[in-house]
Amino acid sequence: MRVHKTEALTAPIAWADEEADAMDEQEFRRLYDATARPIFAYLMGVSGRRDVADDLLQETYCRILARRVLPMEESEARRYLFRVATNLLRDRWRRGEDARWAEPAEEGFLPDANMQLDVRVAMRALKPRERELLWLAYVEGMNHAEIAAATGLSAMSIRLLLFRARRKAAALLRPDEVKR
């Protein structure tokens, strides 16, 4: 094998290749297949845009590979992935990129799915953090400690924040019923 004289200069790149090879692609594929759909739904439900969900989903897995935290237990990886996805969503909001939600037709929503439209309208009216909390609690079934780990909020505050978010969402979903 020909050894190039500039090998010393390119050594860090070669190391990166070796580390990447050390990560099992099959392991990654298994993790991706098991976790990508809920992460995508979370990103889509909270950001309201398919293009954003697509992009952040890929970025989430790129981060987990780049940080070389694999292999880990699936449940642990799942929590970590939600944490990374939440941080990426926050970065978008900090940059002020959360203003526009895609129209239902644009995202391929069924036009007669009234419930789905109601949910979108409600989610759009909620604050990003409220959307996160509701999704993690009710769709992912996370408990308060898990939500705290995924969002970086204190576990003590989750209960109250979630209660308020739920009240607001319920009012948005069925305004007339919640007045009592």
């Binding site: 190039h4 500039t6 200069l9 390119t10 050594a11 860090p12 790149i13 190391w15 990166a16 290749d17 580390e19 990447a20 692609e25 990654f28 594929r29 991706y32 297949d33 990508a36 759909r37 995508f40 739904a41 889509m44 439900g45 398919r50 969900a53 989903l57 890929q58 897995y61 790129c62 590979l65 780049a66 995202e107 391929g108 929503f109 069924l110 799915a113 419930m115 789905q116 109601d118 949910v119 979108r120 409600a122 509701l134 999704w135 609690a137 009710y138 769709v139 079934g141 408990n143 209960r159 209660f163 739920r166 009240r167 969402a169 319920a170 979903l173 069925r174 019923e177 919640v178 009592r180």
Partner: protein, 158 residues
Amino acid sequence: MKRCERESEVTAALRAGLWTEELRGHLRSCASCAETERVASALLLSAAAMGELHELPAADLVWRRARVGMQEEALKRAMRPLIFMRRVSFGCVAGFAVWVAWELWRSGFSGYRQFLPGMNFVATGAAGVGVAIALLLMGVGSWYLLHASRQSGIMPSA
């Protein structure tokens, strides 16, 4: 409305689709749990519809993107000392230029021959040859590094 301790049970039952008669009875009498059920069921139906409607990016694509990102990061790390040295050399040149300009200005631009005592033909010629050799070596070195990088596939050819 007060919070109810059984909200998590309602959420779990909704997610699993397993309701007991007792829990159904509680749901009818508890406004907080009824509200939880309403919000959670709407979100769960929405999430299920999302799963049916949208295709995910392929795992291969994400894997390749991650690999490319890691290589770019490694390249950046490898280039960091070179970038640092380039900045240092620019700083040295700029510092030298400022110093020369300052000395010339201080001498009133008239005594530059005293300031640069070697400004005769021979000395200037020797300095010129030195600069030319340095430039030639820099060019050859840069060409060699770029050529080597392209051959090893690190840097794409133009």
